[in-house]
């Protein structure tokens, strides 16, 4: 009976999650173009310092603007708000931020508001203006109006949020297609996992088509080992960190100490 229940659960979950599997593929509701990502896998090793990902695609000749973005999962975080108390600037209370993507990197051929209509920007979350309507701020003194710009400054500080208009859309030599090229700077703070790179292209501010591809980010080598150890075995990691530090201190003390004795 239990086995039958499990099988039913498995089959039903396949039906429920099947549409999600298709989401990673190019959408069929509008025209779609092949999108190329170089590199499509980023290995975060000990010497990783962020990298640039080159995006290219062949788009219809009649499109006049395009936007490419990487948008992470929405998260809920609590931040501290600073305010002036008498003469001092202090953290006065908490602001809870909901529906904020952990990563938001966008590059477009021109400012998003000049290449797409407001409805499309809102539904596809294109540009900081659309993001402002999507993110929710809650707190004792939130919604004074400045929270969003301060939040963007905070996120831009470590490269988690970026918005540029440096992408290029040029006609191919045969004038049959438009060649789209953009660079997305991937910060060191990029979370591991699969990230959807989404490309939208427009004609007369109307969505013509979209395309998507997957960018894989994974920690390898020492960073991966230490990260797993810190989160999966925190007690061992804590003892290990203390032992390493004490061993380094003793070794250095012995090396420098014996050198001094030899000089004597």
């Amino acid at each position: 009976m239990r086995t039958m229940f499990r099988s039913l659960l498995l089959i039903s979950s396949l039906f429920i999650f099947a549409p999600g599997l298709h989401a990673a593929q190019p959408s069929e509701d509008t025209e779609s173009s092949h999108i190329s990502i170089v590199p499509d896998i980023i290995h975060i090793n000990a010497f990783y310092k962020g990298t640039d990902v080159a995006i290219s695609a062949d788009l219809p000749i009649d499109c006049d603007g395009a936007v490419v973005k990487i948008q992470g999962e929405d998260e809920r975080i609590t931040l501290k708000r600073k305010a002036k108390v008498y003469i001092f600037w202090l953290n006065v209370d908490d602001v809870t931020v909901s529906n904020a993507p952990d990563i938001y990197i966008l590059n477009s051929t021109a400012a998003p508001e000049s290449i797409s209509a407001i409805e499309a920007r809102r539904s596809l979350l294109l540009g900081y203006d659309a993001l402002m309507e999507h993110i929710d701020f809650q707190g004792k003194n939130a919604l004074s109006g400045s929270e969003f710009s301060e939040f963007i400054k905070l996120k831009e500080h470590n490269g988690s949020y970026q918005q540029n208009a440096t992408a290029q859309l040029l006609p191919s030599p045969d004038k049959e297609r438009n060649s789209f090229n953009a660079i997305l700077p991937i910060p060191p703070a990029m979370p591991s996992g699969n990230h959807q790179v989404l490309l939208y292209y427009f004609r007369d501010r109307t969505l013509m088509g979209r395309s998507s591809a997957t960018l894989r980010v994974e920690k390898v080598g020492l960073p991966n080992y230490l990260y797993s150890l810190a989160f999966d075995h925190p007690a061992f990691y804590g003892v290990f960190a203390c032992v390493i530090a004490m061993a380094a201190g003793i070794t250095m003390g012995l090396i420098l100490g014996s050198r001094k004795r030899r000089k004597k």
């Binding site: 990783y48 501290k80 400054k153 804590g238 201190g249 100490g257």
Partner: protein, 309 residues
Amino acid sequence: MNPYLFLPIAGASVPMALLLGLGLMVGFLLGLFGVGGGFLLTPLLMMIGIPPTVAAASDANQIVAASTSGTLAHWRLGNVDFKMGLLLVAGGVAGGTLGVQLIKILREAGNADFVIKITYIIMLSIIGSYMFQESLRNLKPGWLSKKKERIAKTSTFATINKMLPLKIHFDKSGVTLSMLTVFLLGLLVGVLAAIMGVGGGFIMVPVMVYILRMPMHVVVGTSLFQVLFTCINVTFMQSYYNHTVDLTLAVLLLIGSTIGAQIGARISTYLKADQLKIILASIVLLVMISMAFDLLMHPDILLSYKGAH
């Protein structure tokens, strides 16, 4: 070429030379004065993009290395009073636990941040200006008459100490004190260290010099011994509960700081006690001024991640 190193827990990439240099500077201060450097290094790490909670926890981890190295160097020079150190550690651990609870109550009341910052500024200005004034006075001629006045002032502490039981002689420091006095001073420093989120070396050093009247070179070695235990406790707790110790960051800092601590310990034997005090007082006052400036100036960003000062 300046290679970068990826810090997996901090999620940041930082030039290796910068971290080695910061470690060297903090280790040097640790070896020279017995001050952990937590009050100095954590804000510097935050400035280069390390999240505040990771900066504070990893800083504590590297101080374990630097204080091990420094304690070893001072132990060889005969500058560690283990008896005094262990009593201060016991008081410090009890005070730290008490301080953590106090912070919890203040956070619930909503004014913890103000209390932390004001405590920092008040403590740094009292310690810095007193040390600076005292050392300057000692370097001036006609110091003897002032010394007599000072001895008269400290008699209150001596009277209280005489009244307390469990007296013990500390051979290395050359003082006779009640075990309760030492424990209570350790407790007080532990409470302040927990409120301020630091190892407590920069409070412990003036307490040992001006209240316990220990010789400056024994003070430095004994303070390092106390800092070592405080930071082992912090490293383990932060790893276990908050996952905020970045071992890559700590190792790079500790390579610099263990070398710096040895250099600092050597140089400390060539400097006079008052010269050491004047340099430390100047650093403490500079940090205080920078913190006060930080509190008064409009911040660049009005939101911050939790855990930042």
